[in-house]
Symmetry: none
Subunit: 208 residues, 4 copies
Amino acid sequence: MKSIEEKQIMPRSKEANARIREEQRAHILEASWRIFARKGMAATMAEVAAEASVSNGLVYHYFPTKEALFTELVEKATQGGLDHIQQTLDMGGTPLERLTFLLSGALVWLREHPMYALLTHHVASDETTPNDLRDLMQKQKHLTHEAMRRLIVEGQATGQIAGGDPDQLLHALESCLVGLALSAISQSPEQFQKNFPGVEVLLRLLKP
Amino acid sequence: MKSIEEKQIMPRSKEANARIREEQRAHILEASWRIFARKGMAATMAEVAAEASVSNGLVYHYFPTKEALFTELVEKATQGGLDHIQQTLDMGGTPLERLTFLLSGALVWLREHPMYALLTHHVASDETTPNDLRDLMQKQKHLTHEAMRRLIVEGQATGQIAGGDPDQLLHALESCLVGLALSAISQSPEQFQKNFPGVEVLLRLLKP
Amino acid sequence: MKSIEEKQIMPRSKEANARIREEQRAHILEASWRIFARKGMAATMAEVAAEASVSNGLVYHYFPTKEALFTELVEKATQGGLDHIQQTLDMGGTPLERLTFLLSGALVWLREHPMYALLTHHVASDETTPNDLRDLMQKQKHLTHEAMRRLIVEGQATGQIAGGDPDQLLHALESCLVGLALSAISQSPEQFQKNFPGVEVLLRLLKP
Amino acid sequence: MKSIEEKQIMPRSKEANARIREEQRAHILEASWRIFARKGMAATMAEVAAEASVSNGLVYHYFPTKEALFTELVEKATQGGLDHIQQTLDMGGTPLERLTFLLSGALVWLREHPMYALLTHHVASDETTPNDLRDLMQKQKHLTHEAMRRLIVEGQATGQIAGGDPDQLLHALESCLVGLALSAISQSPEQFQKNFPGVEVLLRLLKP
DNA sequence: AATGAATGAGTCTTCATTCAT
DNA sequence: GATGAATGAAGACTCATTCAT
């Protein structure tokens, strides 16, 4: 066929190259995801390469350092959460309704992408995490935290949400979410899915 | 005088040596605690030595391997928890009362020794953890899990505890505890103490 | 041309890589041979790497551990000896003829490969030798020992070989062989070759 | 008793100190002997101290370095041999008679003190051996070598000893002796004694 | 773009030696 | 003289990263 002929004469079309580049990047990203989720920064580049079935060197063709690869992974994992918070901020309704929406979203996200959650956990717990990553996480965390705090305080004012120190409530709620993510580590995917609690359970924490 | 004579024959009395040995062991254990809690097995022995202000080699004078040191740390951290569960199993009262007792104990423990909790977290989440440690943790976890599950099921029967899948309830509760421990990482000790929720908040998860 | 196209997709052909791998393995094996023969397991991997003019890490690219490298070396050194014994077992002739054949072979081998002999010596005399190696050596030693013993006993029966305790004779003979190997350490190769005794000298030990 | 009183007042008599010093030196020397014979310089000072049932530090009170201890051991082990050679040089008789005397002495020595022989072997085969030791060994070896060579050449002249290259004969003879010493490593003491060959076996090597 | 050989800094561990008592 | 705690310099091994092809 003609394309083959061309390939032999012209090194390779720009577009083909670009496409390959994108595909490989995505491929490696996908593979490293699994590895990093389980081992955090302790994972080795060799493991990543093996999981992606490419050579050691190729990973460096697409990502300059291990840190960069990890960072990109985390940024991606983080994005969805930020979007969801934004939606919550924009929507109308009572504080409880909006909190329910926020929590539902979080639970769905955790349930579908426990890997992502694990990843962010490693970022937080490993002291060796690059600083920009830390900042990124800090930022998102702060956003979520503030959004939820405001909703809780408002809810307490309207009586929809139990009284008491809102920060303690918040702390319990956030801990629960973090813990749910972590529990994906030690359970089989089936168990994880089966035991995953619904929003209504979490909401009980807030019941007056 | 006799003591002078003895000095010539016995150098540094046995007791003095024993005391030094005990103190140094404790000292190193204490130092490694801080290091391992933050970094898990990724911590280096050099860091431990530096934190304890001793030479690299001395750590090995007291602990045969990094793993052994880590293991001893975890075993110590674990012990209190096991004892508390045993008390719960032995006590009388309604399911809710016993669950309250169990949770109170867990919260106190988490609050007082967040480092211990972090340590156990690293054991669970690091794939590189030595196997005997894993087994130890697994055992304790299983004990707690079963104790709580039984109490929840019983409580649901008597109507003291909300219905629904007991495993989901349990999962939410456990996640909350795990998450609380982890949150010690990213907060200042003061904040951590201040925001730490009381039992009544957690119990709301179970309210019918 | 096709080869150009291929180069873009396949970097350094599989065969080239395989060849490099083989060559380097052989190269390192050759270098470590000299080092281990002289120092036994006391030799350092750094010395091996230096002798082979490669980096420290590369040695581990080809051999998983120092022990494995050493073992492979010894297995190679051992093989020739085992083959020769087998031939002796299979051949016909009088006991003395067969013994002569066995000894000639041993002498030739020792003379040509004193390094190999030294290596096996270290295995036997170092208490730190890995156990599987020990077993390997033990096995070969036992084979040789038994083969020679049988030939001596038979030779004594036919009167071709001097009487007396066959085990003492055997011991003297074996010691002589071991000693010849060792003497390669302290002599220049030229001296070693020049002074190396012929079979007829050794056979005199057995003369009635 | 009076002596006790004195001890309490005067630190310790000069003579007592000297006696203790001698006894301890001898004691440690004796213990290190066993250790070094088996492991050569690979033996650790801790092992020596343990075998002597003294503290680590005490060994350094009597011997400045590991090397010095080892050297002293070897010098002691060597002395007997040198004496025996001197006797041979001084005695009269035919070359064969004198050679027989020399070899008998060597065999007796090897048989009684295989440990000593092992020690000297380690000196020769370890490249890490201190240089003065090497020289010492070299010297003794040279003396023995020359003495035996002269006797052999003379014996060949009188026809008492087989013809052929005297150096090859010598080499075989020396190898046999070295080998006998080494065989102490891999045999139980009982076997070693039982299989140890008499002079007449060795002398056969020289028979015309 | 792709491979995997090659490098070297960093980590755990051992051990000769010193030091306070 | 005696003890054993303490030190620090190697040595085996790992792994992020670079390089030739």
